[in-house]
């Protein structure tokens, strides 16, 4: 049981890392999703290229590029900061695609109705379409967040002291290479279950407020 206590030390870090990266991605995804639908072709192209690159390169490679490539040069980054930036960037790209899917789910007539009411495009987006897109995006975003929670384990490679970091630590100290990792596996599963439950609750509450 002592080993479990050691491994569980990392749970807070795993949750903190996941939450910070997800928030960064949820915010960063908005401009990317909008740029992806821009009326200017060049902006659309750049947004698409950025999204493809962010999603096409493995998260571990991003962490290495940021932590070792950039973080050891002009700017010094802690491993946590590098991990949040790396996962946040990758999350922005995935969230942008989720928002884009959400945008297509909102009926075209709502743009026309807002136009007829004299709302500008920006005001329509901010007050009519945007809030609905966020609600429609919840299920996909939640699936992504749960995936992110598991992917965040990669940050241990650059030294972030999360759940699996402490599992490796414990296995080195105790010489037992099975039990600490089983504890880690159990803790990750235990963390994802309430996440899935909470999002189902949130979803059923917010879903009612979307006009189709």
């Amino acid at each position: 049981m002592e080993a479990l206590a050691v491994v569980a030390q990392g749970v807070t870090m795993t949750l903190l890392l996941t939450l910070s990266s997800f928030l960064l991605g949820a915010v960063g995804g908005i401009p990317l999703a909008l740029a992806r639908r821009s009326q200017i072709g060049a902006v659309r192209f750049v947004a698409r290229a950025v999204i493809e690159l962010l999603r096409g390169i493995p998260p571990l490679a991003w962490l290495f590029i940021i932590y070792f490539g950039i973080g050891t040069g002009a700017i010094e980054l802690s491993s946590f900061a590098a991990a949040v930036i790396g996962f946040g960037l990758v999350a922005s790209a995935y969230m942008a695609e989720i928002y884009r899917g959400g945008l297509t789910a909102i009926h075209e007539g709502q743009w026309e109705a807002s136009d007829a009411l004299g709302l500008s495009r920006a005001a329509t987006l901010a007050t009519v379409i945007g809030p609905q897109v966020l609600r429609v995006s919840i299920p996909a975003a939640a699936t992504f967040a749960i995936g992110l929670l598991k992917d965040s384990s990669v940050a241990s490679v650059i030294g972030v002291q999360d759940t699996i970091y402490w599992a490796s630590h414990q296995s080195t100290v105790s010489g037992d290479a099975i039990v600490p990792f089983l504890y880690a596996a159990g803790l990750y599963v235990a963390m994802t279950i309430p996440c899935a439950w909470a999002t189902r609750q949130l979803d059923s509450k917010l879903r009612k407020r979307v006009a189709r």
Binding site: W62, F68, G69, I164
Partner: protein, 217 residues
């Protein structure tokens, strides 16, 4: 431009790493996909024990980070008396995760086969086994192809995790060159772009296939 000089100098080393990453992806898929199909069939089995075990394996496989499974296989199994090379450990670990995820994709595909066809096959007197083999599986797998291709791309990205068990794949090669030359930024960026060079065309291909298959329905 030292940046591009580095790229020219170290490209061959990274290319051999990319080869290892691709091999690992292939072996993982060859083991993981059939196992995924078995799990998908098991999860839909009429035998309660088979169903419960399959669902248990799927949930554990999907709930546990691939990195944890990898470490468990590479560091844990030797203490249980099984010493694996890093390649075998990595391919088994990734195949386990792959089987769990693809079983859900395949199950979706199998369920998308119209129920009427199964009833029609029953009416024709086909055995349950034959219905699966000749009616449900061929169509269900076909429906699942585009998402499976998408997942294969994720497996290729996940092979970078094998860095942690000292396998000479692309990420390890890039890191070790970086740590010798201190040219982390240029080398790691090149490695990242080499991943993208595979994943981006592959995901366009999977979109193309998705549109092609959708046309025939």
């Amino acid at each position: 431009m030292t940046f591009f000089n580095d790229w020219v100098d170290y490209f061959p080393d990274l290319l051999s790493g990319l080869g290892v990453s691709l091999q690992l992806t292939l072996v993982t898929l060859l083991m993981g996909l059939p196992a995924g199909l078995l799990l998908a069939l098991g999860a839909g089995s009429r035998n309660k024990a088979v169903r419960m075990i399959s669902i248990g394996v799927i949930e554990i496989g999907r709930g546990t980070p691939a990195l944890v499974v990898l470490q468990l296989f590479y560091f844990g199994l030797p203490s249980a008396g099984m010493t694996l090379t890093s390649f075998v450990a990595a391919s088994l670990a990734l195949a386990f995760t792959t089987a769990a995820y693809t079983s859900e994709i395949l199950r979706g595909g199998l369920q998308a086969v119209p129920g009427g066809e199964v009833e029609a096959a029953h009416a024709l007197g086909m055995a349950r086994r034959d219905i699966l083999r000749f009616v449900v599986i061929p169509q269900g797998v076909r429906i699942a192809i585009p998402p499976l291709m998408g997942f294969a791309i994720m497996v290729f990205q996940a092979t970078s995790l094998a860095y942690t068990i000292a396998m000479p794949e692309l990420m390890s090669q890039a890191y070790s060159i970086g740590s010798i030359t201190f040219r982390y930024l240029s080398i790691l960026t090149l490695a990242g772009l080499m991943y993208a060079l595979i994943t981006i065309p592959a995901s366009s291909l999977s979109n193309f296939v998705e549109h092609r298959l959708a046309r025939h329905r």
